[in-house]
Symmetry: C2
Subunit: 344 residues, 2 copies
């Protein structure tokens, strides 16, 4: 059942202020957990024991069966395909071409995807389709790489791919099992729904989600096969940030400059999950109201406060660390600003 | 100076829940005031004495000088132009053509607008421009009607239109004076910034903003000239809802079915202002985080709870009163739901 209406007794702290002129115009609340592989909470804000839907930020964990079934090795997948399996890509030609080629390698095609079609989130790519009066295909769906990864495990094991997005399909059972093990979550009993791309979305507490990301970052306590899979997935994200995200995206820019330390994945409704291999930490963050603009300011501020960036890297990431608001004519009229929750 | 970081001591109440599957995924907080022309608060939620930027929701008040300078009569403006002066239109051909013709009537053109150019918010209109490789002009700016109204007063009084968006230009001084009088706000001392279209944005408390809208709804206490101007503006909005907003917009649909009772205007960052002539009430509503999806659910729920709609009208407005969330493939995966703040 949906949770009770009134959550006013326990408001999340303000994480990001939207400033216009001399006044705070809007405010974004949220919560985050920074946790090590053993589950120890290093930093936190808000109620980290409350379940959230991790949405696409969980994709690195959902990619584990692609390695653990042997599918990646059977089909000779490289780091590019593994990065795409973790991607919320922007539907640029490079994404579409590589996903399409991968589908061909496993004997399947765009018609086997069950994610639905939407215009690329990359504006020039969307405008190119519109100019050519071409409707978007399922390949343009930001989740098409993840779905191809799912299909790849079915192909590897000779399973009927049809209905692979349903919770009781062997493909999805493997995914849910891996996520449940990594986050210590009882996936059968947790609150659930359906994600934007059709697969089940299972609620996980911020603390448990962060621990799952920490286990990928510091896989020393995991069984051999999972340890290897975790490392290969995170390394692929760092090697091909553009394939995980899209041109100009925060995740791309962060991994371009600090990919050896930070593996970062956004999700819908204001979520970010991060693995920090050098620190052995995981992060999960959720903006209460679901705003992406706030989740970006919050996660990059948190990474900065955790000492993830050098001075040069901070310069390179300046547009994300100190984002401005410009009006239609291009005049700077405001800014997005991290709130006191980050004063540590 | 920007307000202090920590607003956690006084969180706004939750107004709208975003439900996915069996769980509330995201929450939107906010505040609203329902006030009569004398300033008496009829309904409220949250801190209504805190200033907000009303953004485009204040346009009906900003249109007063267009009548009071005599510009509307001098140029023979009809209800269509008055509706466009209050509009955040969607940049559809009908909006662009009528604004362009109006500019021609006052001897000015698109180049005199200082609002900047952006793609139409109406998707088919934006796609038509993209397909034709045509950049948007300032006529497509959702504020082009309001700006033409501003220019019209300068033309009427023989003022140099250049710089009409600046606070010290005679055009803007008249606008700020009218808004200050109607809302009882000291515009020179209130927190201020610059709006998306370049004009000053002045902070006004929700209660004062609602009272300004109530004075338009029940102008019996206003001087003759302002009373007549208020009535003409509100009547024009009701007569031409499509010109105030755009195809499929909530404001259009509400005024189509209940235009004799409800004059409604959205603004950026989650604001709505409403005049209710039959009840003699005004409403101002602001979502704390600025989300438009939440402001729509909140304002239509509030209007419904205030008894503004008949049973038939409720049926017609069903998509706005009980909005669903569909995923990319078109499957219903969630809904937007008013929270307990509306249980009255």
């Amino acid at each position: 059942m949906p949770q009770p209406h009134d959550q006013n007794h326990d408001p999340a702290p303000v994480l990001v202020d939207i400033v216009r002129g001399v006044m705070v115009e809007s405010r974004h609340r949220g919560a985050f957990a920074v946790v090590d592989a053993a589950g120890k909470v290093v930093r936190r804000a808000g109620a980290i024991d409350r379940p959230i839907y991790p949405r696409s930020a969980i994709k690195p964990l959902q990619a584990l069966p692609l390695l653990e079934t042997g599918a990646a090795d059977k089909y000779g997948l490289g780091q590019e395909e593994l990065a795409l399996a973790c991607a919320s890509h922007h539907g640029e030609p490079v994404h579409v071409q590589k996903v399409s080629a991968w589908l061909g390698r496993i004997g399947l095609g765009e018609g086997n995807l069950e994610c639905g079609a939407h215009l690329p989130t990359d504006v020039p790519s969307a405008q190119a389709l519109i100019r050519g009066s071409q409707p978007p295909s399922q390949l343009h769906n930001n989740c098409s790489g993840k779905h191809t990864g799912f299909l790849c495990t079915a192909a590897c094991l000779g399973e009927d791919p049809k209905g692979y997005i349903e919770a009781d399909h062997p493909v999805m059972r493997r995914v849910l099992k891996a996520v449940g093990e990594m986050t210590g979550t009882d996936m059968a009993r947790a609150p659930a729904g359906r994600d934007g791309c059709g697969i089940p979305v299972i609620a996980i507490t911020l603390q448990a989600m962060a621990q799952g990301m920490a286990r990928m970052a510091d896989p020393s306590g995991l069984p051999d096969e999972r340890r290897a899979a975790s490392t290969r997935i995170l390394d692929a994200m760092a090697a091909h940030p553009l394939l995980v995200d899209g041109t100009g995206g925060l995740a791309v820019e962060v991994m371009k400059v600090a990919g050896d330390r930070v593996r970062i994945k956004p999700g819908a409704e204001g979520v970010f999950c991060v693995s920090l291999p050098k620190l052995g930490l995981g992060i999960a963050l959720k903006i209460e109201d679901g705003a992406g603009r706030a989740s970006e300011v919050a996660i990059i501020t948190l990474l900065d406060r955790l000492g993830c960036f050098t001075a040069d890297e901070r310069m390179a990431l300046h547009p994300f660390l100190e984002p401005k608001i410009k009006n239609v004519a291009g005049v700077e009229v405001g800014l997005l600003r991290p709130a006191a929750a980050f004063d540590f």
